[in-house]
């Protein structure tokens, strides 16, 4: 019963998720904490913290963790919880996967249609603005610290950001390498 519910709830979260992982979190909160009582408030906060500090899409991270924790909280053994976590992760993916594949199929077979070309000619400039906005909105206290707390660390954050920007754009440094180096700098300095 719990498994069926996990499947249902995470399928729903997967198909109603517009606008990225963070928008998904409020949906996951209302479904898992408020409606179904699978998790406590504190457990949910933990999951968000863990999802943000582990690699992987935040939707998959939270689905895996909620799947595991809710099954354990219901008194099942660990192997069942592992099944629950895999089930929740697949549930969050499958509906949007079918939708995406359908669109891919259409685009690949109609990519030379005039209307498709016209629509994408306008969408390409727009998506640049969209991503630029995302970058601007992330230039906040959570990501850079604040000069009120510590000026050197704030300056260092900006320095790391500018360095990665120049390194990847101008010198074609591997972005994965850039992320790792910044992480190591963080380990040493902070």
């Amino acid at each position: 019963m719990l498994f069926l519910k996990l499947f249902y709830v995470f399928s729903k979260i997967g198909i109603f998720n517009f606008g990225g992982g963070y928008a998904m979190l409020s949906l996951i909160y209302s479904e898992t904490v408020v409606k179904n009582h699978w998790l406590t408030n504190a457990e949910f906060t933990d999951i968000v913290a863990i999802s943000q500090s582990t690699p992987g899409p935040i939707g998959i991270n939270t689905a895996t963790y909620v799947g595991y924790t809710s099954v354990v909280n219901a008194g099942y053994p660990v192997w069942a919880a592992v099944l629950g976590s895999v089930l929740a992760s697949l549930s969050i993916m499958w509906l949007s996967f079918i939708l995406m594949i359908s669109i891919s199929h259409y685009l690949l077979t109609h990519k030379d249609a005039p209307w498709v070309k016209n629509v994408f000619a306008a969408l390409r400039p727009a998506i640049i603005g969209l991503i630029a906005a995302a970058a601007l909105l992330l230039m906040n206290k959570e990501n850079f610290g604040s000069p009120a707390d510590s000026i050197p660390y704030f300056v260092l954050s900006i320095g790391l950001c500018v360095a990665v920007f120049v390194a990847t754009l101008r010198f074609k440094v591997n972005p994965i390498l850039a992320l790792l180096v910044c992480g190591i700098v963080g380990l040493i300095v902070y």
Binding site: N17, T54, G56, A132, L136, P175
Partner: protein
């Protein structure tokens, strides 16, 4: 040959999934490098088009991207390989943490590492905008489109979905008007 390519695609997706730190947008440079530059599974324009589709449809950005590329390479099974390839590293990482490392989030080292990573993530989101401007053939007559889109979202909290709908409709109507004019001139 058939399976070698799918295996390579799967491993590439693993790599992208494993380094998705701080949301899908930050992965754009990594995806571009792996999918476009290294493996030539699609060209830069198609990459941008799929980004638009992945952003517009529900679901997880990097998984949508991988599903499309997989589908293009090897049909539905290719798409499944791509989607699972992205998801696998995070499922494994989270399970390990859930089962063995309950105090992972309180780890000081993890926190320090991510304090260094976070500003870099912002740079990785900003950087592709300049590269993509070339791919999208931005000119003086079209540069207002990204500027206005950016302003509406960042300053006026307009949902990106609306920007995409309006831009798509605008492109469609503009194309129709232009084609009609050309037909009239040809007559």
């Amino acid at each position: 040959m058939y399976s070698v390519m799918l295996l390579k695609f799967f491993l590439t997706c693993n790599k992208i999934g494993a380094f998705t730190l701080g949301g899908g947008y930050a992965m754009i440079p990594i995806m571009e490098r792996e999918y476009v530059d290294k493996n030539h599974w699609l060209d830069r324009e198609e990459f941008m088009d799929i980004m638009v589709v992945a952003q517009t449809t529900p679901g997880i950005f990097s998984i949508d991207m991988a599903s499309h590329i997989g589908y293009k390479l090897r049909g539905v099974w290719g798409g499944i390989v791509g989607a699972l390839g992205i998801a696998l590293p995070s499922i494994v990482a989270i399970l390990l943490i859930a089962i063995f490392f309950h105090n992972f989030k309180d780890n000081v080292l993890v926190e320090k590492f991510f304090r260094g990573v976070r500003p870099a993530v912002v740079a990785l989101i900003a950087a592709p905008c300049f590269k993509m401007a070339r791919t999208a053939h931005i000119t003086w007559s079209t540069c207002w489109i990204p500027l206005v889109s950016c302003l509406l979202i960042a300053a006026f909290s307009v949902s990106p979905i609306w920007i995409i709908i309006v831009a798509g409709l605008g492109g469609y109507l503009y194309g129709r008007v232009r084609d009609r004019k050309q037909q009239q001139q040809n007559k």
